[in-house]
């Protein structure tokens, strides 16, 4: 199997803090990979390095064989990596529909003036964008609230919308930062199915940070465990569950939601 994403010896230092230390990992095409570890282990920082929010102190990030270490975030999104955020970052005062449409702007073909002046070809493209957005909202079950303001949605639906928005960019790789944070067991179970569904439906690869171990163990093909910025284990869910280091650093400790 070929890898979609590859990190080589990535180091991310903030002043004296080494948030990520020599992280190497590979995400295979079509798989669901989990990145786990205690609070402050450097997981979100790894996401920020992958998506270009931070430029790593050293090391290399490649996406589909291309070096993207120094790319800007919007270019990386255009290449095909989309993400959600640990603390939901929707466009709060805009509608659900607009949130999804905005994520389609990066593929806009009409030029600025054609688009701004609503020329026939731009109107046609806008119509197509809307149809695709409608279809996407239908798939994630948000059609009924498409004209609501994003901030007015209940928490669970906001998480779904954030995933829908990321999917709207038509990514090959989707990064989910704690998608089940703040969810009850029932909601977490639904989310588990949802993630599997979208993976098949949209034919994407998923890299996910998550603290809910049931979810992680059920859907991951591969798990990487970080502790204090260091990779301490890598393997299948079964291997990770049996790994002494992991149990000590993470699983043994009270799990926080």
């Amino acid at each position: 199997m070929s890898n979609v994403l590859k990190l080589d010896d990535v180091v991310m230092r903030f002043g004296g803090v080494v948030a990520v230390n020599n992280l190497s990992l590979e995400v295979n095409k079509g798989s669901i990979v989990a990145l786990i570890g205690p609070n402050g282990a450097g997981k979100t920082t790894a996401f920020n390095v992958i998506t270009g929010v931070y430029m790593p102190t050293s090391g290399k990030v490649s996406f589909e064989g291309k070096d993207i270490t120094k790319e800007q975030p919007h270019k990386i999104a255009k290449l095909g990596i989309a993400r959600t955020f640990q603390n939901i970052r929707l466009f709060k005062k805009l509608t659900v529909m607009d949130n999804v449409l905005i994520a389609k702007h990066l593929h806009l073909k009409s030029g600025l003036f054609g688009t701004a002046l609503h020329m026939p070809w731009a109107v046609k493209e806008e119509k197509k964008m809307r149809e695709e957005a409608e279809a996407l909202l239908e798939k994630v079950g948000l059609t009924a609230v498409k004209n609501e303001m994003a901030s007015s949605l209940p928490y669970g639906q906001q998480r779904h919308l954030e995933i829908a928005r990321a999917l709207a960019t038509s990514p090959q790789l989707l990064l989910l930062d704690e998608p089940a944070a703040g969810m009850n067991p029932q909601e977490t179970m639904e989310l588990t199915h949802f993630i599997k569904e979208i993976k098949d439906e949209f034919n994407i690869t998923i890299l996910m940070i998550e603290h809910h171990m049931d979810l992680v163990m059920e859907i991951s093909d591969d798990i990487y465990v970080l502790d204090f910025g260091q990779l301490i284990a890598h393997g299948t869910p079964e291997q990770i569950q049996r790994n002494e280091k992991v149990i000590q650093a993470y699983l043994g400790v009270e799990e926080d939601a």
Binding site: H74, A77, R165
Partner: protein, 359 residues
């Protein structure tokens, strides 16, 4: 409400405005016409500032500077060639420029293009940075432009300014260009680019992660805003018939800031309403700048500048207590008006049925 009805309503509204312009042109005296012209110009400037500050979430204070560029471009190129030696009597006009005369509309557009170029020059270094550097840069730019215009004697006639600019005395120019600007703003905001601007305003990090290039889109918004401001400035020059550097003090930008804050950052209809309120208010409060005496005693408070003090206080009150202004980010749409009347009607019928029944 379907598209056809909306189109008809839009046409009806346009007809009403046109009728109003025709009647106003006939009936009103030049003083009121001047104010109405100013309302249209302030609408254009308010929209320009709202595009950048309200819709894109940038903090630009360069309106007066871009306006000055537009005003001076129109002044320099539309003043009749034969009048120029009289106007530039201290130092003759630059030999190259003194022979060039451009009709009003191309001069107006040229001003817009030059302003947009300056916006690019300021924006290119500053808009890459996060934060409010733009406010400082635009503020500085606006002052520098004024100082340059004061000193470029052979081009701008320095502090004397340029007089005898062919004036517009009816309402057609300003109002039709204001209508065009409103129309353009509505189209722009309701396009994919408009949504991208709003996304940047809402959350830069999320917008970037969704593939929106922050720098590119900020520059686009800023350049369009500068273009519009210069168009307003060009009309301003043609309305007054004279330009001089003192008209473009930084305090002029205050007026537009008040318009967008009062009307609602991110509301087109709010900007239009508030442009009329602010322009009317500024005119009405003019007495504050005049000396005033009660029973023969001169009240020291009333002196030039008091008007701006009152306005600054108003601005602070709005910012402190009415964060969202009149409209917030909402718009007056036909749907909203329809809803309003529906509610009014149901309330009436309910009252007619016997009043205070609790439901």
């Amino acid at each position: 409400m379907n598209k056809r009805t909306k189109l008809l309503l839009n046409i009806a509204a346009l007809v009403v405005v046109i009728l109003f312009i025709i009647i106003a042109n006939e009936l009103f005296d030049s003083y009121i016409k001047r104010i109405l012209n100013l309302c249209a110009i302030y609408t254009i400037l308010g929209l320009s500032m709202n595009l950048v500050n309200g819709f894109t979430g940038l903090f630009s204070l360069g309106q007066a500077g871009f306006m000055a560029i537009g005003a001076y471009t129109v002044a320099i190129f539309t003043v009749p060639i034969e009048a120029r030696s009289l106007i530039f009597y201290l130092k003759p006009m630059n030999a190259f420029l003194s022979g060039i005369h451009i009709p009003f509309v191309p001069a107006l557009l040229l001003g817009g293009v030059i302003a947009a170029l300056f916006a690019w020059l300021i924006g290119a270094p500053v808009l890459r940075l996060r934060g409010d550097y733009l406010a400082i840069a635009t503020l500085g730019f606006s002052e520098i432009i004024r100082i340059v215009f004061t000193n470029a004697q052979t081009i701008t006639n320095g502090a004397l300014g340029i007089k005898n600019i062919p004036t517009i005395s009816n309402l057609w120019w300003t109002w039709s260009i204001a209508l065009l600007t409103i129309f353009f703003m509505i189209l722009l905001i309701h396009s994919s680019y408009g949504r991208a601007f709003k996304a940047i305003r809402e959350d830069e990090i999320a917008a970037e992660a969704m593939g929106i290039g922050l720098f590119k889109h900020k520059v686009i918004s800023f350049m369009i805003g500068a273009f519009m401001a210069a168009i307003g400035g060009g009309l301003f020059a043609a309305l007054l018939g004279t330009v001089d550097p003192k008209q473009f003090y930084f305090t002029l930008t205050y007026n537009f800031l008040l318009i967008i804050v009062l009307g609602g950052m991110g509301s087109i209809s709010g900007t239009i309403i508030s442009a009329f309120i602010v322009t009317g208010g500024l005119e009405w409060l003019r007495f504050l700048d005049e000396p005033m005496s009660i029973g023969g005693i001169n009240i020291a408070l009333f002196r030039p500048g008091l008007r701006m003090v009152v306005f600054s206080i108003l601005l602070m009150i709005v910012v402190l207590f009415y964060r969202n202004g009149l409209m917030g980010q909402r718009e007056i749409t036909w749907e909203a008006i329809g809803e309003f009347f529906k509610k009014l009607r149901t309330r009436k019928t309910r009252n007619a049925k016997g009043g205070a029944k609790v439901e």
